[in-house]
């Protein structure tokens, strides 16, 4: 029997990384928000790797932070090792990654959510969406309780229709042995939502006391820690070490001999897994000539002995897992605390969503995270944040907030998902961004904070800090432009760097344009320089060194924007447009792009189709005007 439990503006289903950001954004923007999870102990849980960030992902976290999201702040509270990746390359691809204390991460996020105004956190399994006349009205819990709302955000992660595989055994389960959400999975199918099965996997966890770290290579954190959050200037913390070791032929032989016992090759798994994170059995199957694979051993936290075996995700039976892990140097006496597994789950075809992440066929139903076919905590959080913002805007009756591919990795991520679609769990990568030089970690605030402040999400404190930082950067660039150094002072410095000498005094800015010279390397010849935070120095450096390239990219962005600004009326009837090829007509009709730019990115829509559309739009406009 059903009964009423109350009414909210917005309900978020699922309290993983997407759900937490969605709920916080919604509540911070002033909407009465309810966050529901099957189990509150799984709030902001990291069921796979104990880390946040990395290439592309680090960019996402900076953007989430710049928009007033929580992930950056939360990892800054809970990391136990921090590394900036790619420092040998240019600043556009510097990527921050931190090892998290998983429990700490969960606790800190839970605290933040519990304390958040306008936000209620409740344990409860949603089994049914209440939909009336293609509009969302609320959710129904397994207990029979009904919560009403004007918007619902689905962020079900791997819980939805979750099924775990270890060897020949397969059973319904959410991640890490938590209960799966199976009734809701059926309800969504009954509502006609086009669901798909995706798959992912995780390695075993093992006890540190059973590992001989002396046989492995240490991986320390950076000496100078870069915070994720713009709100944190400096962080100092004792850092843990990670360890690197390798598989060998014996490992591979054992795995190969047990292919028949693998769920992956046994045909039980129907879900599509991501190519970029294959299981160890998949790696050995596909890359037969590799005589070793690397394996990072990473702590799961400070208060636990459990270690994560990165690179060795597997769904082989437990006895095989023991056998092959123990062939690896340092793991000879390994004790497994939790076996590796593969998990299959339900997700939606993201092409069914608008760029605001709203499901096209049910007004007010927004979707985020793994439910949308992505993979990764950061990808999930980014979508959660955007779904939260857009749900609020919808209730306010305002235009959706959509980030362009030229504005943010978040824009690239969502644009890819909803227009290109994906056939495997989608992971962000810097190579997916066309305007990589513009989308850097160091300027995320410059790209996004003001927008978010205007939406009422980013705080005044953040906005003011951003304005101050901008001024510091401008000042420093000016100073470098105007500071000249005499040749007798600079030449010894240049000599040390291996840069050719100058024969007259030269501005620091000129010198910084040389590829071999960094901002830091000029310090000995620049005693007047202010003490700048790393991300500010990075931005100064980028702005000077890559001025020409940034200019080129900005030109391309201008062109890109002209197409994005050519809007397509949403009442357009593609079937009436003679001259569009059938495939294009069908795709356009299904995806209903808002602009010619979006239309052009849909696979199956050719440049000629876009031309036809352009002509048609002009005709449409003139008829409209009665010409």
């Amino acid at each position: 029997m059903n009964y009423e439990m109350g009414k909210y503006d917005i309900i978020v289903v699922g309290a993983g990384h997407a759900g937490c950001e969605a709920a916080l954004a919604s509540a911070r923007m002033g909407k009465q928000t309810l966050l529901l999870a099957i189990n509150l102990e799984s709030l902001a849980m990291m069921p796979c790797n104990p880390s946040i960030g990395g290439t592309g992902k680090g960019h996402l976290v900076h953007e989430i932070d710049a928009l007033g999201g929580e992930m950056g702040i939360n990892i800054d509270k809970s990391f136990i090792q921090s590394r900036m990746l790619n420092t040998a390359k240019g600043p556009a691809v510097h990527s921050l990654r931190a090892q998290a204390d998983k429990t700490r991460y969960h606790i800190e996020m839970k605290k933040t959510i519990e304390k958040q105004k306008n936000l209620d956190l409740k344990q409860g399994e949603v089994v049914e969406l209440i939909v009336e006349e293609a509009e969302i009205k609320g959710v129904c819990l397994r207990t029979g309780g009904i919560f009403r709302a004007n918007a619902v955000i689905l962020a079900t992660g791997t819980f939805l229709g979750g099924k775990i595989f270890i060897g020949n055994s397969a059973y319904e389960s959410g991640p890490s042995g938590l209960a799966a959400s199976t009734i809701l999975a059926q309800n969504l199918r009954d509502l006609g939502m086009p669901m798909r099965r995706f798959k992912t996997g995780t390695p075993a966890r093992a006890l540190a006391s059973s590992i001989d770290f002396s046989k492995m290579k240490e991986q320390p954190g950076d000496e100078e820690i870069s915070p994720f959050s713009f709100m944190n200037d400096e962080l100092d913390r004792d850092q843990i070490k990670c360890y690197l070791t390798y598989t060998n032929e014996r490992t591979h032989t054992i795995i190969r001999n047990n292919f028949s016992r693998s769920a992956l090759f046994g045909g039980q798994i129907e879900g599509v897994g991501p190519r970029y994170c294959p299981s160890i059995e998949d790696k050995i199957n596909r890359f037969k000539d590799r005589d070793r694979h690397q394996l990072f051993v990473e702590p799961e936290g400070l208060e636990t002995e459990e270690m994560y075996l990165q690179g060795m995700s597997t769904s082989l039976p437990e006895d095989v897992q023991y056998e092959f892990y123990r062939t690896i140097p340092g793991l000879e006496n390994l004790e497994i605390s939790r076996p590796g597994y593969a998990i299959e789950y339900d997700c939606i075809d993201p092409q069914e969503l608008t760029a605001a992440l709203e499901y096209r066929r049910i007004s007010g139903l927004f979707c985020a995270g793994q439910f949308n076919g992505s993979s990764g905590y950061e990808e999930a959080a980014a979508q959660g944040l955007m779904a939260g913002i857009n749900a609020v805007l919808k209730l306010r009756g305002e235009d959706p907030f959509i980030l362009g591919r030229d504005e943010a990795y978040i824009g690239v991520l969502i644009d890819d998902l909803v227009f290109k679609g994906t056939n495997e769990p989608y992971r962000i990568m810097t190579s997916r961004a066309e305007y990589r030089l513009l989308l850097r970690q160091d300027n995320a605030d410059e790209r996004l904070t003001e927008k978010s402040y205007k939406l009422g999400l980013a705080t005044k404190e953040r906005y003011d800090k951003y304005i101050r930082k901008k001024a510091v950067i401008e000042q420093e660039i000016e100073r470098l432009r105007n500071t000249k150094v005499k040749e007798e002072i600079i030449n010894p410095v240049l000599d040390k760097i291996g840069s050719s000498p100058v024969n007259k005094s030269v501005s620091l800015m000129e010198l910084m344009k040389r590829p071999e010279i960094t901002y830091d390397s000029l310090a000995p010849a620049d005693p007047e320089r202010p003490k700048l935070m790393r991300r500010i120095a990075a931005q100064v450096e980028v702005r000077i060194k890559y001025e020409g390239y940034i200019g080129k990219q900005l030109e391309r962005v201008e062109k890109f924007k002209r197409m994005e600004n050519k809007k397509i009326p949403q009442d357009i009837v593609y079937a009436d447009i003679d001259g569009l090829r059938l495939e294009a007509r069908q795709k356009l009709d299904k995806l209903k792009p808002q602009s010619l730019g979006q239309a052009g990115r849909i696979s199956g829509v050719s440049p000629a189709d876009i031309n036809v559309l352009l002509i048609y739009l002009e005709r449409y406009r003139r008829i409209d005007k009665g010409e």
Partner: protein, 470 residues
């Protein structure tokens, strides 16, 4: 890279190719006037090219000069019409030149090299419509035009390229892709167990591709026999009758014909039509030892035009013994398609045809008597020989890639220049993500030639070739 630029500057030949009296090249877009400004000059009294002030809507006389080489391409009339009262409603420039394919093509190429993009079929009309110039009834026609292009135009473009060229382009793209994939993996997977990338490898791999594209462009620039003309170089020592031959073919006097050896100091190019085949004739200065600087330049040009010609017509004066100059020329003819005109048959013969055949064994030898005002003995025979050679497929460009399409050449050049940039900044040691921008541009330009989009090529390769994972 996308193909949807609606407001860049486009250029095209807007009259039919052929034997018309004049030809018109039209540009539309913001940069039209600037591009014209770069190319348009008038010679002052000292013969120096001077900039011309371009007035609105005023037909102005001048010359089109290649800004890079300073070469005078053609004398033209040009007009600039500012937006919005033009056909396309954008800034428009029209250049009226002599109707020869050679000058049309050269001028169009110069427009493309200096900032314009080759117009798609119907693009001027499309812009006119979008600018509000055409009425609604014409919208359908524009759509039909675009449709026609997709249905048949594109296919035929592919058809034209099928076989070797598209295979070559695919190979080159694969080579670029290899580099891109390595860069991508290095940037996106810094912690993986992957070989480090070496700049020297990037440079050598890209240089290899760049050289091949360069070859294609060179071949392409002369690869146009039937469609755009056959390149014939007329060579021979001074006063052997080259200019007379040229005049006989042109039936007009342009090259200066005198008895003083070395009168033709520069190469002269002319277009004629032989048996329906457009032919570009290059009349060269005689090849001989000289101290005269101007003539030296002329001679080195002659050797160049021999090297780039599809067919060489060599004149030998049978009234004189063979001289060292003749032998110098003959030494340049190895492996080339040659017609020898044994000229001045009407004078006392010091050489017979058999002697010549021994010297230049694979050539066709025709006996002629070319002289001003007299009947041109043997010309007809020579014209027939040329037609037969082309129609019989005897004359082909080296490699015969047939990159005949200006659009393709344009894209090859863009790709070449992007690779050049990538190599240059690799040498400077700039970071990978900057180099990657130029390389991926080069990759997409090549893709446009064969109609392939970038899509997910790179990531697909990354995942299939590298073992990555958590």
């Amino acid at each position: 890279m996308n193909n949807f630029n609606f407001d860049d500057t486009i250029a095209a030949v807007s009259t039919a190719y052929g034997e018309g009296g004049i030809g018109i090249i039209r540009m539309s877009g913001d940069s039209s006037k600037d591009i014209l400004g770069l190319l348009f000059r008038r010679f002052d009294d000292d013969g120096r090219p001077q900039k011309i002030s371009i007035e609105n809507r005023k037909l102005t006389y001048g010359n089109i000069i290649d800004p890079e080489t300073g070469e005078n391409i053609d004398e033209v009339l040009a007009v600039y019409m500012p937006a919005p009262h033009t056909y396309t409603t954008e800034d428009v420039v029209e250049i009226d030149c002599h109707g020869s394919i050679v000058s049309l093509r050269r001028i169009l190429s110069l427009c493309l090299e200096n900032g314009a993009r080759l117009a798609e079929k119907g693009e001027f009309t499309k812009r006119a419509f979008l600018g509000g110039r055409l009425d609604l009834s014409q919208a359908e026609a524009v759509i039909d035009m675009i449709k026609a292009k997709t249905d048949s135009g594109f296919d035929s473009a592919i058809g034209q390229l099928e076989g070797r060229l598209s295979r070559v382009i695919r190979d080159l793209r694969q080579k670029i892709l290899d580099v891109l994939v390595n860069i991508t993996v290095n940037i996106d997977y810094p912690d993986e167990d992957i070989e480090e990338i070496f700049y020297s490898d990037i440079i050598s791999q890209l240089t290899d591709v760049k050289d091949k594209i360069d070859d294609l462009i060179k071949e392409g620039e002369k690869g146009r026999i039937v469609r755009e003309g056959l390149d014939i170089a007329i060579i021979g020592k001074p006063n052997v009758g080259k200019s007379s031959l040229m005049n006989a073919l042109l039936r007009e006097t342009r090259a200066i014909v005198t008895d003083i050896p070395g009168t033709t100091r520069d190469t002269i190019e002319e277009s004629v039509n032989i048996g329906g085949i457009p032919v570009r004739l290059t009349d060269t200065a005689g090849i001989r030892e000289t101290d005269d600087t101007i003539e030296k330049i002329g001679i080195s040009r002659s050797i160049n035009s021999i090297r780039s010609a599809d067919l060489i017509i060599m004149l030998i004066d049978v009234s004189r013994e063979l001289e060292s100059e003749d032998m110098d020329i003959i030494s340049e003819l190895k492996d080339r398609k040659v017609i020898v005109l044994a000229n001045k048959q009407d004078l006392d013969k010091k050489l017979n045809t058999e002697d010549i055949r021994k010297l230049i064994p694979d050539s066709m030898i025709i006996e002629t008597s070319l002289a001003e005002g007299s009947e041109d003995e043997g010309i007809c025979e020579m014209e027939n020989a040329i037609t037969d050679m082309v129609m019989g497929g005897e004359i082909r460009q080296s490699g015969s890639m047939m990159v005949t399409n200006v659009r393709h050449l344009d894209l090859l050049k863009n790709s070449l220049s992007a690779l050049g940039d990538a190599i240059a900044i690799s040498r400077l040691g700039e970071p990978l993500e900057l180099i990657e921008i130029d390389i991926s541009n080069a990759y997409s330009y090549l893709g446009e030639i064969i109609g392939e989009e970038v899509n997910d090529d790179i990531l697909n390769e990354v995942f299939s070739r590298f073992c990555l994972g958590k």
